[in-house]
């Protein structure tokens, strides 16, 4: 969807045109702009949830957008733990949310200690 993009800006002017390319996220096909961060491309498509917390399964999206928090980590072309906020999008990228861990481990917490 284009209306999530700021094509024209009163001070910054028009957005420089970039090549539109295709990629997949969790097996679904999307379009994005070449070289923009994966997180921006997904947000422009209305996708906020990038992964689910390994133990609790709660949905997570970008938090810091500059590489500090690692909330946006996804699997890119099979490589784990890549930050969607600072990885440039390329044609044909296969992006996936990491699967939650099979067994939730919480027993080190006070309630079970």
């Amino acid at each position: 969807m284009t209306d999530r993009r700021i094509l024209d800006h009163p001070i910054l002017g028009e957005q420089k045109s970039q090549k539109e390319i295709s990629f997949t996220f969790n097996q679904k096909e999307y379009k994005g702009l070449q070289g923009e961060p994966i997180a921006a491309a997904l947000l422009a498509n209305g996708v906020r949830t990038l992964r689910y917390h390994e133990e609790s399964g709660t949905p997570r999206g970008i938090y810091c957008n500059i590489g500090h928090c690692f909330e946006c980590r996804v699997i890119i072309n099979g490589k784990q733990g890549q930050r969607a906020c600072l990885t440039p999008l390329e044609e044909g990228m296969v992006i996936e949310s990491p699967a939650p861990l099979p067994t939730p481990v919480r027993d080190w917490r006070y309630e079970n200690a």
Binding site: T58, H68, F70, E71, N77, Q80, W108, R109, Y110, A113
Partner: protein, 90 residues
């Protein structure tokens, strides 16, 4: 209620109540509190939650922080994958 369920450390999903109850149960230092709850020991290396965890730890401790400290950070400051360590790239 909401305050108790509030997550302080996002990576490890440690809540305010987790920190408070652990503190009460073990009467531990700030450092031990982190080790026991894993607050600040998650994937981001505490970059996101550290200041909040420290504030709670010191407010629970009721003790003034000293102004010079050796900042405790452990390498790596960015997670390293096993493939990277082996120099292999998938």
């Amino acid at each position: 209620m909401q305050k108790n369920n509030m997550i302080i450390c996002r990576c490890e999903e440690v809540t305010y109540a987790d920190l408070k109850k652990t503190k009460e149960k073990y009467n531990c230092t700030a450092r031990e509190l982190k080790l026991r709850t894993r607050a600040g020991m998650g994937y981001c290396g505490g970059r996101t939650c550290r200041s909040a965890v420290d504030k709670i730890a010191s407010s629970l401790e009721k003790q003034k922080e000293k102004d010079i400290i050796p900042l405790k950070y452990q390498p790596p400051v960015r997670p390293v994958s096993f493939a990277d360590l082996g120099g292999e790239h998938k």
